[in-house]
């Protein structure tokens, strides 16, 4: 872990565990969020990302362990003065007008951004008098994200901020996040879109099964996960051991082997006299590498099925097709 000189830690989890009855959502998670960092939290649905954010913003308490926000318990309202949050669902009171919602939120902070300025920045100026129930999905989403920035927070938690937005709107929001970060703001962002984390985050934390699997810079995460995908046709591929192959799948006679060392793997295949044809070696995108990590990291076999189905979503498939370019 990189340790800058005495970083000002804005939020921190220390050995945080959270259970819901019998279900353990987070297991002994420790995480520091230093000032000025843009941290991307990745993981499949149900991995524990949202629970972690809910602990950090005081919505839930850890079953054991400790969570701090600006050095205080997040459940202390004073701690949340420097916090900006965007709700995961676009649940705004339908009868309130857009301007009224922003005013209510602004009223909680000592030095909020003036409402017209917020609305203008997020392209909502014309909708100020509209009731939120009458907004389109994308407009609601934009308003929800705008709310996170109203109080000039020092830390913003964005839980899947761009889910359901079209590409243009998503890029607008990325600009907003970059603008805030460039001005010294700290961001923790969860996303379904790896593209998003890849585009924005400096540090990537991969969570699955309630545990932190990988925590490092974008580059470190890339190198920590199997970086090469070897695809080949063969009637049978013997078990080559976890050290060499971190994950393997096959469909008919097409085998996909994930490895950190493609050269060694190919030499081994030749030495073992595996009758393969059509050998391909690819450098996957972070997206694919991440799926490989979560597929091997999750103990339950169901995980790899979930990972497999994620790969088939349009955006993921698109990224996969350009796997080689992405890493270059």
């Amino acid at each position: 872990m990189t340790a800058p000189v005495a970083p000002d830690v804005l939020a921190r989890a220390v050995g945080a565990t959270r259970r819901y009855g019998d279900v353990v959502a987070l297991v002994d998670v420790s995480l520091d969020v230093p000032a000025g960092q843009l941290l991307g939290l990745l993981g499949p649905n149900g991995a524990g990302k949202s629970t972690l954010l809910q602990l950090l913003c005081g919505l839930r308490r850890p079953t054991s362990g400790r969570v701090e926000l600006f050095g205080r318990a997040p459940t202390d309202p004073v701690a949340r003065t420097g916090l900006g949050v965007t709700p995961q669902e676009s649940g705004l009171p339908p009868t309130l007008r857009v301007g009224e919602v922003v005013d209510v939120v602004a009223g909680h902070y000592p030095d909020p951004v003036p409402t017209p300025e917020v609305l203008d920045r997020f392209g909502l100026a014309d909708l100020r008098r509209r009731q939120t129930g009458g907004l389109s999905g994308g407009q609601k989403r934009r308003l929800a994200v705008a709310l996170a920035f109203v109080g000039r927070p020092r830390l913003v938690l964005l839980d899947e901020p761009t889910t359901g937005l079209d590409v243009d709107a998503r890029h607008d929001l990325w600009d907003a996040v970059r603008e805030y970060h460039a001005a010294g703001g700290t961001v923790v962002l969860t996303s379904h879109y790896l593209e998003e984390v890849q585009a924005l985050a400096e540090r990537v934390v991969v969570v699955d099964g309630g545990r932190v699997l990988v925590d490092g810079s974008l580059e470190e995460v890339r190198s920590a996960v199997p970086s090469r995908r070897v695809r080949l046709h063969a009637p049978h591929v013997p078990d080559l051991g976890r050290a060499l192959v971190s994950r393997s799948t096959h469909e008919g006679d097409v085998h996909e082997l994930w490895t950190t060392d493609a050269d060694a793997l190919v030499r081994r295949l030749v030495r073992d006299d595996v009758a393969f044809t059509g050998l391909e070696v690819a450098s996957p995108s972070l997206e694919e590498a991440f799926l490989a990590v979560t597929a091997t990291g999750g103990a339950a076999p169901a995980r790899s099925a979930a990972g497999g189905s994620t790969t088939s979503t349009p955006s993921a498939a698109g990224a996969g097709a350009h796997a080689q370019e992405v890493l270059r």
Binding site: R80, G82, G91, T95, P153
Partner: protein, 267 residues
């Protein structure tokens, strides 16, 4: 300077202190009020229901022509209206709101329990008081009930006091239970509390065992207080201590339930 930037780390200014409790209470009261009145039918229901109860259950009765009995009956119906607002608006309404993502969002803002509770309380009591206006007017016009101006304020104050334990109970239900359970519990509590407290039939008609039991109910203490304020009959010595005990107990329950609340109990 760009629109989106963090405040500098607090330097002097004492800016880590949240906004004042009073200011935030006003903010939440106003926003809840606006939210509510934009759905007029919800307001109409709350406001008209007690007047209808009076029209159906008091006005046609023979005792409606006896000033003392009619006044007491109108007072009891007023308290019943307040009790049902407390159990349903606070109990079920809060439970419903808690299931909404907006409620979770509000809990991430730098605001504690007090201003949000104050907003709810002021709104509920405000609408309940509005609902009492037609009750007073109809009782005055259609029955022998009288409420001299000198007693109006006293009675209003007595109603507010009598409402306190029911308010605490409602909030405890709302913050402590999921919507469906809250609805069931509110319904289960409303009738026994209203009947046992003498809001439907005056306690004078109770058998002695029920009267003894009734003395310990918050609704009975509240009913005695309100009837005494409206008609001038003596206030039983038990009323105020019983009421105070229930206020403390239900307030503690409500605060406990609010603190334990984490929105919906699943992820």
């Amino acid at each position: 300077m760009s629109t989106l930037h963090p405040t500098r780390p607090p330097a002097g200014r004492g800016s880590t202190e949240g906004r004042g409790v009073l200011r935030l209470s006003w903010l939440h009261t106003r926003s809840l009020f606006v939210e509510t009145v934009r759905v007029p039918i919800a307001v109409v229901g709350t406001v008209v229901f007690p007047a209808l109860t009076l029209l159906f259950f008091v006005v046609p009765q023979p005792f409606a022509q006896d000033p003392a009995q009619a006044t007491a009956a109108a007072a009891q119906i007023s308290l019943f209206a307040v009790v049902s607002v407390c159990l349903f608006t606070y109990g079920v309404g809060v439970a419903e709101d808690r299931a909404l993502p907006y409620d979770s969002y509000l809990r991430t803002l730098p605001v504690g329990a007090a201003p949000r509770l104050a907003g709810r309380v002021l709104n509920g009591l405000g609408f309940a008081l509005v609902a009492l206006v037609p009750v007073v007017v109809l009782a005055t016009l259609l029955t022998a009930a009288t409420l001299p101006a000198s007693r109006l304020l006293l009675t209003g104050g007595a109603l507010a006091l009598a409402a306190l334990p029911m308010l605490g109970l409602g909030l405890a239900i709302g913050y402590g239970l999921p919507t469906k359970a809250a609805l069931a519990v509110a319904q289960l509590l409303l009738l026994p509390l209203a009947f046992g407290g003498g809001l439907f039939l005056p306690p004078e008609t109770f058998p002695s065992w029920l009267d003894a039991l009734s003395t310990w109910l918050p609704t009975r203490a509240g009913r005695d207080l309100v009837v005494s304020a409206a008609t001038g009959v003596d206030l039983p010595v038990t009323a105020l201590p019983v009421l105070a005990g229930w206020v403390l107990l239900t307030a503690a329950l409500a605060v406990l339930a609010y603190r334990r609340d984490e929105g919906r109990r699943f992820r």
